[in-house]
C-alpha cells in the first residue's frame, strides 16, 4: 500500500487521458448527433399542424393507407414540395404518432396529452383509439423521412432547429436536394450550420461535372475526416473496365487519395484508442469486482468463494433502492444510484460481518476449508436470492444521466455508464486507500495483517479487526455490485461470472497488495481488448488465463510482491 500516493497519482493521470482527449467538435459524431436530434425534437416538435391547404393537404391526405409504397410516394412528393408546414406530420409519422381513422382522416397524436388533432385542419378531434389504424412505417421509409425533416428544419427561424436539420443532411444528403441546399446556404448566417451545409453539399458534389467543384468537395470532406465518407472518396479512385480511372482529373484523384489516407490514419488512431479505452473500461469492471476480494483474500488470506454473491447482494441492494425511489420519491429517481452506494456498502458489509462471526472466524487456521465453507455460504445466498426475488433477472433502469455516451474522438465513444464505472472504480480505490492509510481501522488492519500476535500484544483486538476487515471487504464488494448492476444483468447468478476472474486479478496482482490488484485488473482489461480483435472474445480470455497460470508458475508472488511475509503461503 505504501507508495500508492505517487503510484496512484500516475495511475489517475493515466486514466485521465481519455477524459482530456478533446471531444471532437466537427459535429459529425453519430451518437452525439442522435442525442441532440432527439433533444431538439423534444423541444421543437410541434404536435399539431397550423392547418394545411392546397397541394400539401392533398398529399398528406394520402397517408391514410397501409400500403408502404404509397407512403413512400407521399414522402417523395413532400420532399419535392418542401413545405415547412408539413413538418409536424412528418415528425409524427417518423415517431409512430400518426394515425388514420375509418373516414380517412389523418390524425396526429400529442404524446404529452394523448389528444388527437386532424393533420389537415389542425383541430382537435375526439376519436376512440380502437378505430384508428397506423400507416405502415419501415426503416426504409424513415430513411427517406429523416433528411426531409432535416431539410424542412432548415427553414426554421430557430438556429438550434436549423442546426439539427443541417446535421441530419450532412449525414444523409439526398441528390435531389442539392439545388435547394445551395439556396439555403446562400441565406445561412450561422457559421456552424453553414459548415454542416457545406459538408452536405460537398458530399453531393463529388460527382459534379466541374472538376473544380469536385476538388473543392474532396477538400471539404478531407477536412472532416469522417470514416463514413471514406467509401465515397474511394469511388473516385475506382477504375472502369478498361482500367482507366473513373475520375478524369488527376488533381481530384490526388486530393481524394490524401483524404483517404488522412481518414485511415485517423481510423487506426481511433481503433487503438478505442481498444485502450474499452480495455480500461473492462479493467475497471474487473477491478471493482475484485477489490473486495483483494481485501478479504489478499489481506486476510480467507478464500472467500462467496465473494461473487457479495457482488450480487450489492447489485440487488441497488435494485431495491431503485424500487424504493420509484415508489416513494419518484421526483428524485435519477439519483437513486447515489443512495444505493452507501446502502449497498452497509448491507453487504453486514452480510460479511455475519459470515465472519458465524462461520469464518472458526476457520482462520484452516484456509482450504474456508474455501468449502464459503462456497456453501455462496450456494445458500444464491438460493435465498432466488427464493426472494425469483430466478429471473430483475429489471434495472439506468438513470437518465447515466445513459448515452461520451465521445472521446470520432469513432471512439464510451457509454456514460462505463465512464461512470471507471470513475467509480477510482473513487473506490481512493476510498480504500484512504481507509487503509489514514484511519485508525486501516492502521490496525495493517498491523494485524503483518503480525497478528504482536498487534494483539499491543492491545489491538485482532478478532475485532478481522470482523471489520471482512465487513469492509464485503462492503467494497457491495460497491462493486452497484457498478455491475449498471452494466450487466442482475440475477442470482451474477456473482458466479466474476468469481474466477476476481481470484485471477488478485493472484496476478500479488496477494496482499491492493495496488497490485489495481494494476493487474486494468492490465488484464487492456490486454484482452487488444487481443479480442485478433483472437475473439473467448479465445482472448482463455489465452489470458493460460498466461496467468504460466505467470504464476514463474512468479508465484504476483506482479507486485511485497518483501517479507506476503506472498508466502505456508
Amino acid at each position: 500500500m505504501r507508495g500508492l500516493s505517487w503510484k496512484g497519482a500516475i495511475l489517475l493521470g493515466l486514466l485521465m487521458v481519455p477524459a482530456v482527449v478533446v471531444a471532437d467538435t466537427d459535429g459529425m459524431s453519430a451518437d452525439e448527433r442522435a442525442e441532440k436530434l432527439a433533444e431538439q425534437q423534444k423541444k421543437q416538435t410541434q404536435t399539431r399542424t397550423e392547418g394545411l391547404s392546397g397541394e400539401a393537404a392533398s398529399i398528406v391526405e394520402r397517408l391514410a393507407t397501409d400500403d408502404w409504397q404509397a407512403i413512400n410516394d407521399v414522402v417523395e412528393e413532400l420532399e419535392a414540395l418542401a413545405a415547412p408546414e408539413t413538418l409536424p406530420v412528418l415528425q409524427a409519422l417518423s415517431d409512430r404518432r400518426l394515425y388514420f381513422d375509418e373516414q380517412g382522416r389523418v390524425l396526429i397524436e400529442d404524446p404529452a396529452t394523448g389528444e388527437y388533432s386532424d393533420a389537415i385542419t389542425g383541430e382537435t378531434v375526439e376519436v376512440a383509439s380502437e378505430n384508428l389504424s397506423q400507416p405502415t412505417l419501415t426503416n426504409a421509409i424513415r430513411r427517406g423521412i429523416r433528411p426531409l425533416i432535416g431539410q424542412l428544419q432548415l427553414f426554421s427561424d430557430d438556429v438550434a432547429t436549423r442546426r439539427a436539420g443541417a446535421e441530419e443532411l450532412a449525414d444523409r444528403p439526398r441528390p435531389e436536394m442539392l439545388g435547394r441546399l445551395k439556396e439555403l446556404r446562400a441565406e445561412e448566417s450561422n457559421p456552424e450550420v453553414l459548415r454542416l451545409l457545406n459538408i452536405a453539399i460537398a458530399r453531393l458534389q463529388l460527382d459534379a461535372s466541374d472538376s473544380e467543384e469536385r476538388l473543392e468537395a474532396v477538400e471539404v470532406i478531407a477536412d472532416v475526416r469522417s470514416a463514413r465518407m471514406k467509401s465515397e472518396l474511394e469511388s473516385l479512385l475506382e477504375t472502369d473496365a478498361q482500367g482507366d480511372p473513373v475520375e478524369p482529373d488527376a488533381a481530384v484523384r490526388e486530393a481524394a487519395r490524401d483524404a483517404i489516407e488522412a481518414i485511415e490514419e485517423r481510423q487506426s488512431t481511433a481503433r487503438f484508442l478505442s481498444d485502450l479505452v474499452y480495455g480500461l473500461s473492462m479493467g475497471s469492471v474487473l477491478l471493482l469486482a475484485a477489490l473486495g476480494l483483494a481485501i478479504i483474500f489478499g489481506l486476510m488470506r480467507v478464500i472467500n468463494m462467496a465473494h461473487g454473491e457479495l457482488l450480487m447482494i450489492g447489485a440487488y441492494t441497488t435494485f431495491i433502492v431503485q424500487n424504493l425511489f420509484a415508489l416513494m420519491a419518484p421526483q428524485w429517481f435519477s439519483f437513486y444510484l447515489l443512495a444505493a452506494i452507501p446502502a449497498a456498502f452497509v448491507v453487504t458489509a453486514l452480510v460479511g460481518i455475519l459470515m465472519e462471526r458465524g462461520v469464518i472466524r472458526f476457520l482462520y487456521a484452516r484456509p482450504l476449508e474456508t474455501l468449502l465453507a464459503t462456497w456453501g455460504i455462496s450456494l445458500i445466498l444464491m438460493q435465498t436470492t432466488r427464493v426472494i426475488f425469483g430466478a429471473q433477472n430483475v429489471r434495472m433502469a439506468s438513470p437518465e444521466w447515466f445513459s448515452g455516451s461520451v465521445q472521446l474522438m470520432q469513432g471512439v465513444s464510451l457509454s456514460t455508464s462505463r465512464v461512470g464505472v471507471i470513475a467509480f472504480a477510482f473513487f473506490v480505490v481512493a476510498l480504500v486507500w484512504f481507509v487503509m492509510n489514514r484511519t485508525r481501522l486501516g492502521l490496525e488492519v495493517r498491523a494485524v495483517m503483518q503480525n497478528r500476535e504482536m498487534a494483539a500484544a499491543l492491545g489491538v483486538s485482532a478478532n475485532r479487526v478481522d470482523m471489520w476487515t471482512f465487513g469492509a471487504g464485503a462492503g467494497v464488494a457491495g460497491l462493486g455490485g452497484v457498478a455491475l448492476s449498471q452494466i450487466v444483468n442482475v440475477g442470482p447468478e451474477l456473482g458466479q461470472n466474476y468469481i474466477v476472474d476476481s481470484f485471477m486479478v488478485v493472484v496476478l496482482g500479488g496477494v496482499g497488495n491492493i495496488l497490485g490488484s489495481v494494476f493487474s485488473a486494468l492490465g488484464l482489461g487492456v490486454f484482452s481488448k487488444f487481443l479480442e480483435p485478433v483472437a475473439g472474445a473467448v479465445l482472448a480470455k482463455i489465452l489470458l488465463f493460460v498466461a496467468i497460470i504460466v505467470f504464476i508458475q514463474w512468479r508465484p508472488q504476483g506482479i507486485f510482491a511485497l518483501k517479507g511475509r506476503a506472498g508466502d503461503d505456508d
Binding site: R2, L443, A447, G564
Partner: protein, 241 residues
Amino acid sequence: MPASVKSIWGNDMLEITGLNQYYGDSHTLKSVDLRVETGSRTCLMGRNGMGKTTLLRCIMGLLPVASGSIRLQGRELNGLRAQQRARLGVGYVPQGRDIFPQLTVEENLRVPLAGKRSKGIPERVYRLFPVLRDMGRRRGGDLSGGQQQQLAIARALVLEPEILLLDEPTEGIQPNIVREISDVIRRINEEEGMTVLLVEQKLAFARSTADCFSIMNNGQSVASGPMDELGDDIVSQHLTV
C-alpha cells in the same frame, strides 16, 4: 476479582504460581513460580531453551497454559486474550523485536493506541527516544537493529503499562545502544515506578539494569532474590554453560 483487590502478598505486581505448559509432547514449563514485586526491575535468567521466552509469552497470553495461575496486581490473567492483558497494563517487547516492517515508525507507535483514550503518542516516549521523532516517516523495516529495539520499547511504552516485559533487548545490538537501553529501563523504573521484567542472558547487562533476579532451569524456577544475592555459585550452577 476486581483489579483493585491486592493479593495476599500485598505488593506483588506479577505473581505466577504452578504454571505448566506443554509444547506438543514436551513439557516446557514445569510448575513455574515467579513473583515480581511492584516497582522492581526483575531479571529472568537461565540458559538457552530453559523456557524464559515461553514464560513471557504465557504471561502475555500468546501461548495457552495447561494449568497454574498468572496474577497481575492480584487479578487473574488466565482466560484473558492478549489484547485484554495489554489493556490491563502488560507491555511486551518481544525477542526479535517484531516491528511492523511495512508501517512507518509513527504508525508503529500508534498501533498501541487502540485501547487508549488518548489518541496521541505520549510526548515522554519521544523524550526517551528522541531519534524516533526524526524517523517518523521511515518504514519500520528500514531501521537498524538498535533503532528497531528502541522503537519496540517505545511502542510498548505508548501503552503506559504497569509492567514491561522485555525479551532479550540487547540481542544483536551495538554496545552504545545497549547502554542507552539500560539507562532507559532504569529511568522509566525509577522516574515512573514502572515494574520491569527482563529476560537477559548477558550477566553484566542484567546486573547493571535489574535489581532482582529469578533463574529458570529446565522449565522450572530454581532461584530468585535481590540482584546482590546473585553470587558466583548460582551463576556457575545455573547460568554458565
